[in-house]
C-alpha cells in the first residue's frame, strides 16, 4: 500500500497520459489499425464477389454505383481478401460520426469502359488479363475490348 501511495504521489508531478483532443477526430491512428474498406472504382471489375462474401450485406451495386453501407460493415476484411483485383482496400483511418445514416453510405462509381461495338459498359480488359497472366499485359487483343455479347458475335458470326 505504501508503494501505491508513493506511485500516486509521484504521478501528480508526471505528465498525464491523455491524448490531446481538440474538436474533430484524431488523426494519429497506429498503422496496425485495420480501418475501414475503401473502394477504388478504377480497379473494380464489378464481379460481385465482395457482395457474395460479405457477412452483413453491407455492399451493393446499383448500375455503375458501388455502395458500401458503413452502418453494416463490420470491417471483417472478407471483401478485400475475396476481391480478385484489389479494388477493396483497408486504410487505417477512423470511421467518423454521423447525424444521419446517409453519411455512412460510401458511394463510388465503378470506372467501366464501353464496348467498342455496342457501347455497353463492361469491365476493363486489363484487369482480367492481369489476373489471368499474373502480370499486366503489354498488348490487348481487340476482341477483349468487346462486351461478352459482341465477343460471341465476333467469333461466331451468323
Amino acid at each position: 500500500m505504501v508503494k501505491l501511495i508513493g506511485w500516486l504521489l509521484t504521478n501528480l508531478f508526471k505528465k498525464p497520459l491523455t491524448f490531446e483532443f481538440k474538436g474533430k477526430s484524431l488523426k494519429a491512428v497506429r498503422a496496425t489499425y485495420r480501418g475501414y474498406p475503401t473502394h477504388r472504382g478504377e480497379r473494380c471489375a464489378a464481379c460481385r464477389l465482395c457482395i457474395y462474401v460479405c457477412p452483413s450485406d453491407a455492399i451493393r451495386i446499383e448500375g455503375s454505383l458501388f455502395i458500401i453501407n458503413k452502418c453494416k460493415c463490420t470491417a471483417c476484411k472478407d471483401c478485400a481478401d475475396a476481391c480478385p483485383f484489389g479494388a477493396m482496400q483497408f486504410i487505417p483511418r477512423l470511421i467518423g460520426t454521423a447525424i444521419s445514416k446517409n453519411e455512412y453510405m460510401e458511394i463510388t462509381e465503378i470506372k467501366l469502359v464501353k464496348c467498342e461495338n455496342c457501347g455497353e459498359p463492361m469491365p476493363k480488359p486489363e484487369l482480367l488479363l492481369g489476373r489471368l497472366l499474373g502480370k499486366p499485359p503489354k498488348t490487348i487483343p481487340p476482341y477483349l475490348r468487346l462486351c461478352p455479347k459482341c465477343r460471341r458475335q465476333f467469333f461466331n458470326p451468323t
Binding site: L17, F21, K24, T97, K101
Partner: protein, 152 residues
C-alpha cells in the same frame, strides 16, 4: 435580459456536463469494453465532464450498444421514457445502427432508431473510443443548441 444571460449560462453548462446512461440491448460486449476504455487514462472522457451514471433519471444521454432484441425492447423504451428532457440518444456500433451481423437473427427486432429517435450515430465494429468521444461531444453540441429539446 439578466434572466436570459443566466439561462444561456445554464444551457451552456449542459454542454460542459454530460451524464451518460449506458444501455446494452444485446450487444456482444465489444462496444461496452470500448466505452470503458473511454474513461481510462488515455482517452479520459471525464475532462469534458462526461460521466457514467447509474440511473436514467440522472442522464442527459442514452448510450445504446447492440441490436434491439425482443427481450431488451421494453427496458430500452422504459429507460428512454424515464430520462428527463433535454435528452439525446447516441447509438454506438454497427449492431445498433443496423443490426450488423445479427441483423437477420430470429430474436433481433432491428436497429435502435426504429424504436427511439437517435441523434448521433457512431459506426464501427467495435467503435473506437475516440469516435465515441467525438460522438458524445457532438451530442453535447446538439443538446446545447437544439431548441426543441428544451422546455424552458
Amino acid at each position: 435580459m439578466f434572466l436570459d444571460a443566466i439561462k444561456q449560462f445554464l444551457r451552456y453548462s449542459q454542454k460542459k456536463s454530460l451524464w451518460v446512461f449506458h444501455v446494452n440491448t444485446g450487444s456482444c460486449n465489444g462496444c461496452d469494453i470500448e466505452i470503458l476504455a473511454l474513461f481510462s487514462s488515455k482517452y479520459d472522457a471525464e475532462r469534458f465532464g462526461i460521466k457514467l451514471v447509474g440511473s436514467p433519471k440522472h442522464a442527459d444521454i442514452l448510450l445504446v450498444t447492440g441490436p434491439v432484441t425482443t427481450k431488451s425492447r421494453d427496458p430500452l423504451l422504459r429507460a428512454y421514457d424515464m430520462m428527463p428532457k433535454p435528452k439525446a440518444v447516441v447509438s454506438v456500433g454497427v449492431c445498433s445502427l443496423s443490426g450488423g451481423v445479427f441483423a437477420k437473427s430470429y430474436n433481433v427486432l432491428g436497429p435502435v432508431d426504429n424504436f427511439i429517435p437517435v441523434h448521433v450515430y457512431i459506426g464501427g465494429c467495435s467503435a473506437h473510443p475516440n469516435m465515441i468521444l467525438e460522438g458524445l461531444l457532438r451530442a453535447a453540441q446538439i443538446l446545447c443548441e437544439e431548441e426543441e429539446l428544451w422546455s424552458f
